[in-house]
């Protein structure tokens, strides 16, 4: 089966083609079978491949389907590269992807563009699989841009509303800024190392470049630019909250479980390059820390159920970046996996809430929905416990590993650890704020709502609940991939530190209980001070980054476009035309038809000529 690894992206691609070519003429049932079935087939194939691959004890499997192009030294192929890392990724993408597709068959059933939805979804999965299975950076870039395109198409899926279109274009353009940085990185890597095959490139870099020299720093920085764009990290995170304009399963699949973690994958895949540039690697950690704190604070202030989850996603990817930055490669990928489980669960749960409450997004118009929406309630409870790293939930194990690795780092490690722990406190706070406000207390609206959930929507939630609880016990086979770099010696961590890491998220949950459940503490009183109001406003706006970019990039560009609408350069040619016309007018005036005028000019001309003759 290993030889047939190309089937993985082929199934969803065929699904995409058949849905596009039938142009929405298929009955919904057939669309659902094609749309979800193709991903199901991919998952089965992936499972069989994983079983054989691991059973045979192989470390790497490479399969070239055809040479894409061959120009001089530049010979990227449609080549699949399977190792522990891409194996984990392909299982997450097809597994969680299938669950979300299954959920969507129910969630989108009333949408007139049912077929269009699944065609984009299938294309997305195909692109994402290309991204993680690519053996060279050009093919990876194909998947990278492909998922970006699908993200654009799906954010703007409900195109009648111009705001959705704006959010979609914003997502595409902002990530394209990162993509361009990455593309320049590829040009530089090729110019210096003569290959864009990932393994050749990494080995070339290791043998030719000294640790800390300019070239590894520059190339890893450029790749990091691509990663922060796709993974919505500072300073390119602004697109993700707006991306929530898309249908909720999209937010689960693309903007939580898979695409946004592509940046984490890219850095993990090229970790040998980042190890050659320790300063950039440390920068990755700081970017992660800054993002996780910023997004954590912002999540506390949001009222839109999906925006809270969006900021939470940004924050959790911040943890993954923190892990990458401190060299805990496998911990970062581990957190990527557990996050895929519990965040997909949370988003799908949110989808159920939104669908049941007639597209209500504001959590303060919900309240007490525990009884009305039991499935959504348990989804949120379990998902939030895992998100807040409640002991022995899946999120606990993965976050724990990252923070321990940060602690083990000499020098700035302790600060990264402290920041990460503070972030964990706020994670507990904001995630349970959501749970308490939506599901407990008094009902603040939609009193008679019924939960909309058939088998197709409930079953994926159940599976994801199980994975969110027990996912932490899965061991991912990535040791062989990262064995070169990872610090394996056991660090002695005092019981105190362990205790802090367990207790702090609980404190966050407790504080949110006091504010939103028992009302022992009052948000209104807290908000009375102008400082708190100002801070709230600042955090709510996502730290003013949108305004900043608007002022620095968007407005000047629009202004420039506006003032030069007529094309300055064309006006220069217009000037030539005017000059010719003016000269023409001047000469026309001499054509008066009066004989005395002609006679006078002849005499005047003679005088000038004679004077010239005398003078010279």
């Amino acid at each position: 089966m290993l030889e047939q690894i190309w089937l993985l992206p082929t199934f969803p691609l065929l699904g995409f083609l058949s849905l596009v070519l039938t142009a929405g003429k298929l009955p919904k049932r057939a669309v659902a079978v094609i749309g979800a079935g193709s991903i199901g087939l991919s998952f089965l194939t992936a499972a069989v491949i994983a079983f054989q691959f691991l059973g045979a004890g192989e470390e790497v499997f490479v399969k070239t389907v055809w040479t894409w192009m061959s120009v001089g030294q530049f010979t990227p192929g449609f080549t699949f590269y399977l190792d522990g890392l891409s194996l984990v990724m392909m299982l997450i993408i097809t597994g969680v992807g299938f669950l979300i597709h299954l959920y969507s068959t129910g969630f989108m059933i009333d949408d007139p563009s049912y077929s269009r939805f699944f065609s984009y979804m299938n294309l997305f999965v195909a692109s994402m699989l290309m991204l993680v299975l690519a053996d060279n950076l050009v093919l990876l870039y194909l998947g990278w841009e492909g998922v970006g395109l699908c993200s654009y198409l799906l954010i703007g899926f409900w195109y009648e509303n111009p705001a959705n279109g704006y959010a979609a274009r914003k997502a595409f353009v902002v990530t394209r800024v990162g993509d361009t940085s990455m593309a320049i990185g590829l040009f530089l890597l090729f110019a210096q190392l003569g290959s864009l095959n990932i393994q050749d490139m990494l080995h070339g870099a290791q043998s030719q470049w000294a640790t800390g020299s300019t070239l590894p720093v520059l190339t890893s920085l450029l790749l990091l630019g691509g990663a922060v764009g796709k993974s919505a990290q500072l300073p390119l995170q602004t697109w993700l909250p707006d991306a929530m304009a898309g249908p909720t399963p999209i937010s689960a699949l693309i903007h939580a479980a898979t695409m946004v973690t592509a940046g984490v994958y890219l850095i993990a895949r090229t970790h040998l390059l980042f190890e050659l540039a320790p300063t950039v690697q440390l920068l990755v950690a700081w970017v992660g820390l800054a993002t996780l704190l910023m997004a954590g604070f912002t999540a506390m202030t949001q009222n839109d159920i999906k925006r809270i989850l969006a900021y939470s996603t940004i924050s959790q990817i911040g943890y993954m970046f923190l892990g990458l930055g401190v060299g805990a490669w496998s911990a970062a990928i581990f957190h990527l996996m557990t996050h895929a489980f519990f965040k997909a669960l949370l988003f799908l749960g949110a989808g159920t809430v939104i669908l049941s409450l007639h597209h209500e997004h504001n959590i303060f118009k919900m309240g007490g929905k525990r009884k009305q929406l039991p499935v959504a309630f348990y989804s949120f409870l379990i998902g939030s416990l895992a998100l807040a790293a409640f002991p022995f939930s899946s999120g606990y194990f993965s976050k724990d590993e990252i923070l321990l690795a940060a602690l083990a780092l000499e020098g700035p490690g302790i600060w990264l650890w402290i920041g990460g722990v503070i972030g964990a406190f706020f994670t507990g706070l904001y995630s349970f704020r959501l749970v308490f406000v939506v599901f407990f207390g008094e009902s603040r609206g939609h009193h008679d709502a019924k939960e909309q959930t058939g088998f197709s929507m409930a079953a994926p939630l159940m599976v994801l609940m199980v994975l969110s609880v027990f996912g932490g016990w899965i061991s991912i086979p990535v040791d062989a991939v990262f064995s070169h770099g990872e610090a394996h010696e056991e660090h002695h961590v005092s019981g105190l530190m362990h205790g802090i890491m367990i207790v702090v998220p609980l404190l966050g949950i407790g504080l949110s209980y006091l504010f939103y459940m028992s009302n022992t503490l009052s948000v209104e009183k807290l908000m009375a001070s102008p400082l708190a109001q100002g801070l709230h406003k600042f955090w709510f706006s996502g730290w003013g980054m949108d305004k900043l970019y608007d002022a620095v990039f968007v407005k000047p560009f629009l202004w420039l476009a506006h003032i030069n609408r007529k094309d300055l350069i064309d006006s220069c040619y217009g000037f030539v035309v005017e000059l010719t016309r003016a000269a023409h007018q001047l000469v026309v005036r001499s054509q008066t038809g009066y004989l005395r005028w002609y006679a006078m000019t002849v005499v005047a001309g003679l005088v000038v000529l004679i004077t010239l003759g005398v003078l010279l």
Binding site: G24, E145, L149, G156, Y159, R169, N564
Partner: protein
């Protein structure tokens, strides 16, 4: 001989199309279509051609014309020419298809002009005598002038005149350069020659070299076009009938790029390499400036016209990087842009034909009404913004990859064009297809009932172009292999010349 046949068929076909109008006004389009399809089939036979006496060319034809001045009727084609010839005939078919229902007035004369323009283009892509080259350069200009001036839109005379003057003035500079070059040959070898292979041997290095090279450069970059010689193009495109735009964007622009690759650099390698930093900077300026201009437009055809200029910047960048990847990138960009721009102009023209406006602010929310057209427009917009898997990506990526090795900063600046390409491409989709439906009756120019989806004939044309772009994107090797030999020969020749200059 087949090359002469290729040109003759088009000239004769044009005349027949004109004459056939006497019998029935529906005949000319049929005659034209048959002519161009025959032309296309004949060109495909060139792929296996081996009857050339000259190993550097797949086919060639050489006949004395004005021996006293060393002017010959010398035609030849290598892989590069064949690729462009096939593109020409293919887009010729597409252009006739786009004119099928649109042009009803004086149809005979229209198809006559269309075919004669194509004849000129075929001549330009095959002429190896510079005098003959100039002759064909003019042949493709004049019928195009008529196409814009007679079948154009509201401001057609201005646009046609502007097109004519820009091309003619720059063409005169090239003629001057050709004459000087022939004179150089006379001085160095004792007889006149306009033959490409003879002129390649002329030692041009000297104070005049840069000026003579610039004559070619200006003529070709006006055609391409490149900032600051671009301003004729938005007017010409917005006023031209759809078929005119298809030919103009798809093929005529590529003659400029072809001229740079075939003549400007190989004839003046030293001056060209000295000039390369300026040319590459101009390319970057052109890419960014016109991307910005495109975004500012309200007229959909003007917008697409500016994107054309922006994309041609990648061609110029690739040509002056002058290495294998960059040149292959330039050629792939020419081919892929030929299809994507032609399709986008066809879409814009089709839209104008339906609703009688090009103003995007009068459009919006068309997706639900014309889903086929929306999907097609989305596909070609995505192709134009450089989505991997489609031809334009291969071209632009290779051009940038190669250019990076020659000039880092110009390449980095040009790469920013990728961001702006996404801004304007997605803007078109938003304005026309997304948002709330805007088919308001108070809008006088907008006739809602005519807003119909693509018919099967249109869909067939678009499907052909889509297949072409996917082929180019997924297996570009079919195209790269064809042009590889020609490009490698040129690279090796200029390298040899450059080395000899260094030795001297």
């Amino acid at each position: 001989m087949i090359l002469v046949l290729l040109i003759t068929i088009l000239f004769v076909g044009g005349l027949l199309a004109w004459l056939s109008e006497i019998f029935d006004p529906a005949f000319p389009r049929v005659v034209a279509l048959v002519t161009v399809v025959v032309e296309l089939l004949l060109m495909l036979t060139l792929l296996g051609a081996t009857d050339s006496p000259d190993p550097a060319w797949l086919v060639s034809f050489n006949q004395q014309w004005l021996p006293r001045f060393g002017i010959a009727f010398h035609l030849a084609a290598d892989g590069l020419s064949v690729l462009l010839l096939i593109l020409t005939a293919f887009l010729g078919v597409v252009a006739i298809g786009s004119a099928w229902d649109e042009v009803t007035e004086r149809a005979g004369f229209f198809y006559f002009n269309l075919l004669w323009t194509l004849a000129g283009v075929v001549g330009v892509f095959t002429a190896l005598d510079l005098f003959l080259f100039f002759f064909f350069w003019e042949v493709m200009l004049i019928p195009m002038y008529f196409i814009i001036a007679i079948w154009g839109h509201e401001n057609k005379n201005y646009a046609a005149m502007k097109f004519f003057i820009f091309t003619q003035v720059s063409g005169m500079l090239m003629l001057l350069s050709i004459l000087v070059l022939a004179y150089f040959h006379y001085v160095q070898f004792g007889f006149f020659s306009f033959d490409y292979t003879d002129l390649l041997r002329v030692n041009t290095s000297g104070s005049l070299e840069m000026l003579v090279m610039l004559g070619f450069f200006v003529a070709f970059t006006t055609k391409l076009p490149i900032v600051p010689f671009h301003s004729w193009l938005p007017d010409a495109h917005s006023q031209a009938p759809t078929a005119g735009s298809v030919i103009l964007a798809g093929i005529l622009l590529k003659t400029g790029a072809y001229g740079l690759i075939r003549f400007a650099v190989p004839l003046f390698p030293v001056a060209s390499m000295q000039f390369a930093p300026i040319a590459m900077t101009l390319a970057a300026v052109s890419i960014l400036y016109c991307a910005k201009m495109a975004f500012a437009q309200t007229d959909i055809k003007r917008l697409i016209a500016y994107t054309s200029v922006s994309h041609m910047g990648f061609v110029l960048l690739g040509v002056y990087a002058w290495n294998e990847q960059a040149l292959q990138g330039a050629v792939m960009t020419m081919l892929a842009h030929g299809l994507s721009a032609a399709a986008l102009f066809m879409f814009a023209g089709g839209l104008q034909h339906r609703i009688h406006t090009r103003n995007m602010w009068e459009m919006g929310g068309f997706w639900a009404r014309v889903p086929r057209m929306a999907t097609v427009a989305l596909f070609f917009s995505i192709a134009a913004l450089g989505m991997p898997g489609l031809g334009n990506f291969i071209g632009e990526f290779l051009a940038l990859l190669g250019a990076f090795q020659a000039n880092v900063w110009a390449t980095v600046a040009s790469a920013l064009g990728l961001v702006f390409a996404s801004v304007y491409s997605l803007w078109v989709i938003q304005r026309v297809f997304h948002g709330a439906y805007r088919g308001t009756p108070e809008n006088s120019a907008f006739d809602e009932t005519k807003l119909l989806d693509l018919d099967n004939r249109e869909l067939t044309y678009y499907a052909l172009m889509m297949i072409g772009l996917i082929w180019m994107g997924m297996y570009p090797q079919s195209f790269l292999d064809l042009s590889a030999g020609a490009l490698q020969t040129m690279l090796a020749n200029t390298q040899q010349l450059l080395n000899s200059v260094v030795v001297n």
